[in-house]
């Protein structure tokens, strides 16, 4: 499949979706809040995008502070339609997770958790479900060796797969598995797919490592342009097969792969529908948006006022039309890629998915052409 050859039908759909995106931006209805509930973590992942510190003394935000903020936002959201997701660090390290979740549930908010599975037991799951848990995401970054390598813990794979097994046996709970594709697990993805299908997993998401956090300094985590292109062919084929619902993560305009590798066209909803409360009280859009992307702090500002009146950087993205984006013909569909892929200080683009796909396509095509013709001495008689 060629990334650049976009059929007319899809081009028209892109134009329509541009308008849809613009309308959504004007409405900017908040319906997704991520709470970086702790910076403590029981793993030491190579690719971690947040500022996780393996320091048990690191102070968590008191739950009452977060609940106060949730109270502030109620006038501008519809609680039943606003998902609150506990992230970290490792959210399950919070002992008051269920208590806090129950208070959210009592106020009408559905809530979910993202976990590495290390502390995920049947009892803990039941305890969270009883407190109104609605969705779970478990990270699984390869088969045993590559997962443990990335996660820096010899039992992390076993714990994560045990968590997934528990979830497959749980009724009425939405869950999915999320995988970071990198150079070490790339070849394993087909085997991983078959394993997840055999386990009964219905939803799987793949994202690629982006150059922030610890991953910025680790080239081993990046996929080559050729593998990057092959990854999208793999996702497309898996989706067409229909045995598991595989989606690429919510980043990057992908040219002709749009509509083929995830349910919806690319739309970075950071600051448009999504907000985050970070561990230090900072108000942001996604948890990996820090520094200049911070819009306020819950200890100085009213969250609802911040949501209604700030976030200009997210809602008027013409400032991203610089550098690589300046002359890009797809800017209106992409709007400068996901906000987390802009440098936190300079705002410059760190990674262009489309460009990487084009490089991969070109390289694969060149390799095919350069391949020497195999001549046989055998002649048909």
């Amino acid at each position: 499949m060629s990334v650049g050859k976009i059929p007319l039908r899809k081009k028209i759909a892109f134009k329509l979706y541009d308008r849809y995106r613009s309308n959504e931006t004007r409405l900017h209805q908040l319906n997704y809040i991520l709470w970086e509930s702790t910076l403590r973590c029981n793993l030491n992942c190579r690719h971690c995008g947040s500022d996780c510190k393996k320091d048990p003394a690191q102070k968590d935000m008191p739950a009452k502070d977060f609940l106060r903020v949730v109270g502030e936002i109620i006038p501008v959201v519809h609680p039943n339609k606003t998902m609150i997701v506990f992230t970290g660090g490792e959210a399950l390290l919070r002992k008051d997770l269920e208590e806090t979740g129950q208070q959210l549930y009592d106020r009408g908010f559905p809530w979910g958790v993202v976990s590495n599975g290390m502390m995920f037991t049947a009892d803990r799951l039941l305890s969270m479900i009883n407190a109104g848990l609605r969705s779970v995401t478990i990270s699984l970054d390869g088969l045993q060796d590559s997962h443990n390598w990335l996660r820096g813990h010899p039992q992390s794979y076993e714990k994560a797969t045990n968590a997934i097994k528990l979830l497959t046996k749980t009724q009425n709970l939405a869950y999915d598995v999320v995988t970071c594709a990198h150079s070490r697990n790339f070849e394993e993805l087909p085997e991983m797919r078959d394993m997840l299908i055999a386990m009964g997993v219905k939803a799987w998401r793949i994202f690629t490592v982006f150059p922030i956090g610890r991953a910025a300094k680790d080239q081993e985590l990046q996929l080559s342009p050729e593998d990057f292109k092959k990854l999208f062919d793999f996702i497309k084929e898996t989706r067409e097969e229909g045995k598991i619902k595989l989606n690429y993560g919510c980043e990057g305009f992908l040219g002709n792969y749009e509509g083929k590798v995830r349910d919806n066209f690319f739309f970075c909803r950071a600051g448009i529908n999504i907000a985050s409360i970070l561990a230090d009280g900072s108000i942001s859009a996604c948890p990996n948006l820090r520094e200049n992307f911070i819009q306020g702090n819950i200890y100085q500002d009213n969250f609802a006022e911040v949501w209604q009146n700030r976030y200009q950087k997210y809602r008027h993205r013409s400032w991203t039309k610089t550098g690589l984006c300046k002359d890009c013909e797809h800017f209106s569909h992409c709007q400068g890629n996901g906000m987390h892929l802009r440098d936190e200080k300079s705002g410059e683009l760190l990674f262009c998915h489309l460009k990487r796909l084009e490089e991969g396509e070109e390289s694969l095509s060149k390799n095919a052409k350069d391949k020497p013709e195999i001549k046989s001495d055998v002649k048909l008689v």
Partner: protein, 152 residues
């Protein structure tokens, strides 16, 4: 932003969703375009279909009223000859409340009735037919309405 403006942009996006649907990109917008623009972002949101169905009859003689427009969020239908209707909405799979409106839009034909509306509450709904994924399936409620005839 005023309610009228919000309504305009939401309505506009419904039209876009319909056009994209014609182009074969139905999933893209339908998952995202219900009343409050529930997205399918990085961590997903469990969703479900909420169905409200029933009959519309006259409050005076209990006769069925055809041609009444019934609307719930963006879905609207007209009652059939037996006064029956069914409307649906996609939303987060949790307790929900929907405003359903009933409007006489065919003038004197089939009689003239006063408009009415009601809040339909789904409290801890049970869903069936989910795909084992983010879509938890559907749930339904029966709401039978009596409309008051308007004086000539």
């Amino acid at each position: 932003m005023t309610k009228i403006k919000k309504g305009f942009f939401r309505g506009y996006n419904v039209i876009i969703a319909a056009l994209m649907s014609l182009l074969g990109f139905t999933t893209a917008c339908e998952q995202s375009v219900d009343e409050y623009g529930v997205p399918m972002p990085e961590y997903g949101v469990p969703s479900a279909t909420f169905i409200v169905k029933g009959t519309v009859k006259s409050s005076v003689n209990t006769e069925s009223i055809p041609g009444i427009k019934v609307k719930m969020i963006y879905d609207s239908v007209q009652t059939d000859e037996q006064g029956r209707y069914q409307v649906r909405a996609q939303d987060i799979a949790d307790s929900q409340t929907f405003l359903v409106t009933f409007e006489d839009i065919d003038g004197a034909e089939n009689g003239t009735f006063a408009d009415a509306d009601t809040n339909v509450v789904f409290e801890d709904p049970q869903f069936t037919g989910g795909d084992g994924n983010w879509n938890l399936g559907e749930t339904e409620k029966e709401v039978n309405i009596r409309l008051k005839p308007e004086e000539e």
